[in-house]
Symmetry: C2
Subunit: 215 residues, 2 copies
DNA sequence: TAGATTGTTAATCGATTAACAATC
DNA sequence: TAGATTGTTAATCGATTAACAATC
């Protein structure tokens, strides 16, 4: 349990939220014990892969028994850092910014939204579920003063890099980026992207896969 | 060029939208020629990987010269199926549904939104940029009648599977799913997921990576 | 032609799967 | 104890990188 997880591969990491979700479902169904084999059937990974994945972080199971759902859920929550809480701001209070602000699992898992920021004078001064929309000019100062840890970029791509620079200067540790651009940040800032159009294009590809065939 | 692309690995496919985006940027900057080496520097994949990737679909380059940006962009557009247009509906006209309805690259690349559907009587009858919000009870009939190809699920997770079943019965070919659940569909329907909370949890993990260390 | 850069094969690296001894 | 299932090593499979001959 006392190991450096920096060497666990991203392939494993990216599966963790899915384990987390399925374990939550099991808990909700009041199932408290699960084998890698049963989990495999539900989640679609091989049992072997599940055991390998979980073992990157410690021996959570018990031979002959399987895994204790609640314990495993709590461990994975901890690995994902969901036992802590985070201060966040959203930049860009348009449709997408508002959607994120209202996203249920956002609140549920300890992400605390302190404010939204926009350039649009019509939006500035309004509130989204009791949270103020501020002028984006005040962003840097606000982030510093309130020790904001995560900046969520929901702006058009043209200004995304500029916002990222401001966030970086104001010492955020992470950026959740929805703008369709690869923003550049120094090594001490972590960026996670949600590129919606890339996902849509993959769907488009898959729908056409069989057709491109004959030129 | 006359090959079955079904055997190209998903790892390659998932990089295509990124090539597409960078090539568009080059075109906008009026750069018409690029080598794998230069592209590598911009995009962050190795030059070797870029050449391998592109060669899965045909020899688009020229020895001693590199790639013609416009030609490559057009080819990748075609591979992604972006030369065609698609009819779509959005189910769930809340914040997220509305955000998607207004998403710029959505319109730009041939995805035609025919209607939104919701259960909320306050929303039914309203319009989002001239597009009607209908009662979700009318979904199945509407999809059949208008030959809708893609259903976009922006509902809470509780009803997502039911909506997916309706879409499947109404013969959509693809589903773009934003609900935090793995929906089940028959093999002839393609699903592409956007699991926002999974992405957020990864960010959370990365922020904590160094801390979990000492239990 | 000489220089540059692709297309493509071979080598390496990493991730997944299989197998089974350890053990609850 | 016997049965079940993990933890973990070894084998396989796939993806990335390196290298270079082909060729523009």
């Amino acid at each position: 349990m006392n190991r450096d997880y920096a060497d666990v591969s991203m392939a494993v990491i990216r599966r963790l939220p899915k384990y987390h979700r399925y374990l939550k479902d099991l808990l909700d169904k009041e199932i408290y014990r699960i084998s890698s084999r049963e989990l495999s059937r539900m989640i679609g990974f091989t049992a072997s892969q599940i055991r390998q994945d979980l073992n990157c972080f410690g021996g959570f199971g018990q031979q002959g028994y399987g895994y204790n759902v609640e314990e495993l859920y709590n461990e994975i929550s901890k690995i994902l850092g969901l036992h802590k809480s985070y201060t966040t701001v959203i930049i860009g209070a348009g449709n997408l910014g508002q959607a994120i602000a209202n996203y249920p699992s956002f609140m549920k898992y300890g992400f605390k939204l302190l404010g939204l920021f926009d350039v649009n004078p019509k939006l500035i001064g309004m509130k989204i579920r009791d949270i103020d929309i501020f002028d984006v000019d005040a962003l840097e100062e606000y982030v510093i003063k309130n020790n904001v840890e995560i900046g969520i970029i929901c702006t058009p791509k043209e200004v995304a890099q500029d916002i990222a620079d401001k966030l970086t200067r104001a010492n955020v540790s992470g950026i959740w980026n929805f703008a369709p651009i690869d923003i550049k940040v120094p090594g001490n800032v972590t960026v996670e992207n949600v590129h919606l159009s890339e996902s849509l294009f993959i769907l488009s590809y898959l729908l056409n896969e069989k057709e491109y065939l004959n030129k």
